[in-house]
Symmetry: C2
């Protein structure tokens, strides 16, 4: 495809009847992968969710049918069962189907279930990973999810289960297992989750960063603490879509907020953890 805007290479062709489950990343179109761009240019049908940036669709094959599964004409969102069955039907109709999901398809995105449904209906698939908000979205706030003096482990949790409640987890173990905890879709149950973590020994003053609409022009970052985060988020009107980072890593934003640097601002504190020169560690 000479008009594909892809660098030279042996780019895979989408075949009729296949579904590619593709991660679109957290929001910035520049975080799309080359495989995802390749899929956008070839797909007959693009089925996307609400978190996919509209700008990405400008790069699609102009003849492609675009189906917004996030909201359809103001109606309620389709169920997962509906989405999965629609994907099967499109593939069986011989379409080249791009299922485009915000973030990464296999990180709290139900992509595993969509993939499995397709396979159970004999539809072949390809998976194209994407940048997950819990890593890349936090990076856009200047927060490294791992940092040698902070953590050798990292836990991601989803903030709600299939019924919208905080998931049934061993919260004391999660609190003790990782110095950095990243909560996806956590805004609705943030008061409950932060209380569980404090009840398991995490300190009330522990730093928390909440990144709303990470990596988009609407990105907002709230710097708060474990005890105050739910109330502060409500007061600041910070809500979904948002990613929550609990732990000392959140403080690193004072040094590494590169979006502020692009705007000409100096870092607030080059050593927010008080550990001395980073090059000697």
């Amino acid at each position: 495809m000479s008009d594909s805007n892809l660098p030279p290479g042996d780019w895979p062709e989408m075949q009729p009847g296949w579904v590619w489950l593709v991660g679109a990343g957290p929001g910035d179109p520049g975080l799309l992968t080359l495989h995802a761009l390749n899929a956008l240019r070839q797909a007959d049908v693009i089925v996307h969710d609400a978190l996919v940036a509209p700008a990405l669709l400008d790069w699609a094959n102009p003849a492609a049918e675009v189906i917004d599964m996030g909201k359809r004409g103001g109606k309620v969102s389709p169920t997962q069962t509906t989405i999965s069955r629609d994907l099967v039907a499109l593939a069986r109709a011989g379409k080249r189907v791009l299922r485009l999901k915000g973030g990464d398809p296999f990180v709290f995105g139900r992509g595993g279930e969509e993939a499995q449904t397709l396979v159970q209906h004999d539809v072949p698939i390809r998976i194209v990973p994407g940048i997950s908000a819990g890593i890349g979205g936090l990076a856009y706030a200047g927060i490294p999810v791992t940092h040698r003096d902070v953590n050798a482990s990292l836990t991601f949790v989803t903030g709600h289960d299939a019924k919208g409640r905080a998931p049934q987890l061993d919260w004391p173990a999660i609190a003790r297992g990782s110095a950095v905890i990243v909560i996806y879709m956590g805004m609705r149950n943030l008061a409950e989750i932060s209380a569980k973590l404090m009840g398991a020994g995490r300190h009330a003053d522990e730093p928390v960063a909440i990144v709303q609409s990470a990596s988009t022009p609407d990105q907002r970052v709230l710097e708060t603490t474990l005890a105050a985060c739910a109330a502060d988020a409500e007061a600041a009107d910070i809500g979904a879509p948002a990613i929550v980072c609990v732990g000392q890593a959140a403080l690193m934003r004072r040094a590494l907020d590169w979006q502020a640097m692009l705007a000409g601002e100096a870092p607030r504190d080059p050593d927010p953890l008080g550990l001395g020169p980073a090059e000697d560690r």
Copy 2:
């Protein structure tokens, strides 16, 4: 840049004296992001590590100086201090510097320390996240790191600390906190780590997948168990670079191994966890 192979958009310009810390993804050049490609086309100097696929460098500005920090002329790898100081010196010399790291720069890659060193020397930075092997590399083996009936939490651990030993962690808490545990750089200490997890109650028969050179043409996947993984890896000569997935998610490969589908093979088992139709869950 008309020759940039980027789709239409307002692509950021690298400025002299800046360092962009960029994730190159797990190996497949198609998992590079558009921002990373944009940086490759503009950088005066590219400083990369051993895990960056050589094919990516074909897309670089032909005039760029390429510095391989992974191995230099058969000598030992440079220390982190040397790398960080070299990046500072290159930026101070007015170069547009691309620091290209395998995976994501902020996931067990010491990118946070490099970024902080640069900031502490008044060098401005930009961060471009990449696909981390613990998510995207496993996806190339058909393994979803989250799956609704498997886990609502996910823990990443590094398999060695600064001295090469298994890190000092609350292993019992890690064992209990997340049904899926992903170990980066875990091959050297795999016997010790698997023993710690079993000692904390994880079952000896629990599924484990080890993915070597994930997403590259050399990818190899070992399907094993927690009790057998260290010995099986040695017997199969599976070693670094590898990512280890502990938990039921590893079994999903039997359904979702899309690389086998590309090769014309049917899934071995569309319901490896015995949960019935995925669309109804």
